[in-house]
Structures are given as structure tokens and as C-alpha cells.
Amino acid sequence: GAGVSQSPSNKVTEKGKDVELRCDPISGHTALYWYRQSLGQGLEFLIYFQGNSAPDKSGLPSDRFSAERTGGSVSTLTIQRTQQEDSAVYLCASSLDRWMGANQPQHFGDGTRLSIL
């Protein structure tokens, strides 16, 4: 596709349930990032993938959060045993290469709005 695609666009679930959020990056982009945006707060980094490897998971807030990437393309962010504080917009971004070397900007999808009841 032309841009980063995320699904679902909205997700409402009950506290304690598991959720899976999907990200399809721009074709050919090797780097993929997950961020979280809470009301009134800046975007918060969660995890970075280069290919299928995740060299930086430092932003994952707890062991309830995990992510994987397969085939160097699609990524899934999983939140287990959801809590109300997990409610936020989860944004995915991709870039052509590790921007440190190629200085490529991160391009964002429109996010998944997650609401925990």
C-alpha cells in the first residue's frame, strides 16, 4: 500500500482480555516502530524492529506487552490481561532504513484507538 496501515482502527474490550494490534508498514521499509499516544501526552516509544529483530524493547511498559514481526513486514503488538491504563492510541511507523545511517524519517499510520472498559 501507499502508506502504513493499522488495524483495527478502533478496539473496545473489557479489562483482563488480550488484544492484538496489527501494522502493515510501507513496502520496502526495513525499520518499524510502535508508539503509544495518551490523551494530553506526547508519543511514547514502545519498541523498534530492524527486519524481524527487535534490538530495542526498552519502551514496553510491562511484561504484558509483546510484539513480533514476521517476514520483515507485518508486525503485531499484543497486550495481555489489559488494564484501564492501557487505553490509548497505538501508532505504528516505518522507515526505509535505520535512520541513523540513512536519515530517513519515520512515517506513521493512523493508529488503533484502544479503549479498555
Binding site: Y33, Y35, G42, L43, F45, G109
Partner: protein, 110 residues
């Protein structure tokens, strides 16, 4: 710890009234400063990357500048369609993530 502070939080301007948005940063080794625009319900849209003090970039009515401590996004003769939240982010050496400010919500009144 890397920090990014944007001001003002919100700005209302009349159409055609020029102004500037500020992004102050404290980082250990700036690799790049990024400006994004975000419309309600949408993801951030990339605008500019600045790498070194003194650098300037322009796009239509927007011009971004960079010093060693801050960046400005100047908007000249804005139109209502420029209304959005403008986000500033920094990247540092040895780190892939971006650290974002909380944004400036810009409203242009016709």
C-alpha cells in the same frame, strides 16, 4: 534523559496572522530534529528534518529553523487548513527511537 518541550500548548491566530511555534530540547548528542503535523484522528505526518544548528527548511507557508537548544516552526500568512497539532521530536546517536514533545495545537480562524 532526553527532553522536548513545546510552547505554547495552544495558539489561535487569525487567517494571515504570522507566528512561531517553539520546541526546546535537551539531549545527549542530537542526530536530528523532526517536525510533524497531526490532524484529529490521524497519525503524524512528516514535515521536516533538521540536523545541525543554523539549518533551515521551508515548505509552503512553513519554515523550520534550528539552534543548539531549540527549533522554531514559523508559519507565514496561515490559512484555516493549517489548523492542526504540530509535533516536534528528537533523535539521538546510538538510539533509534524518537522522543516527542506534547505538541502545539494551532487554530487558524477565517
Amino acid at each position: 534523559e532526553d527532553q522536548v518541550t513545546q510552547s505554547p500548548e495552544a495558539l489561535r491566530l487569525q487567517e494571515g496572522e504570522s507566528s512561531s511555534l517553539n520546541c526546546s530540547y535537551t539531549v545527549s548528542g542530537l542526530r536530528g530534529l523532526f517536525w510533524y503535523r497531526q490532524d484529529p484522528g490521524k497519525g503524524p505526518e512528516f514535515l521536516f528534518t533538521l540536523y545541525s544548528a543554523g539549518e533551515e527548511k521551508e515548505k509552503e507557508r512553513l519554515k523550520a529553523t534550528l539552534t543548539k537548544k531549540e527549533s522554531f516552526l514559523h508559519i507565514t500568512a496561515p490559512k484555516p487548513e493549517d489548523s492542526a497539532t504540530y509535533l516536534c521530536a528528537v533523535g539521538v546517536f546510538g538510539n533509534e527511537k524518537l522522543t516527542f514533545g506534547t505538541g502545539t495545537r494551532l487554530t487558524i480562524i477565517p
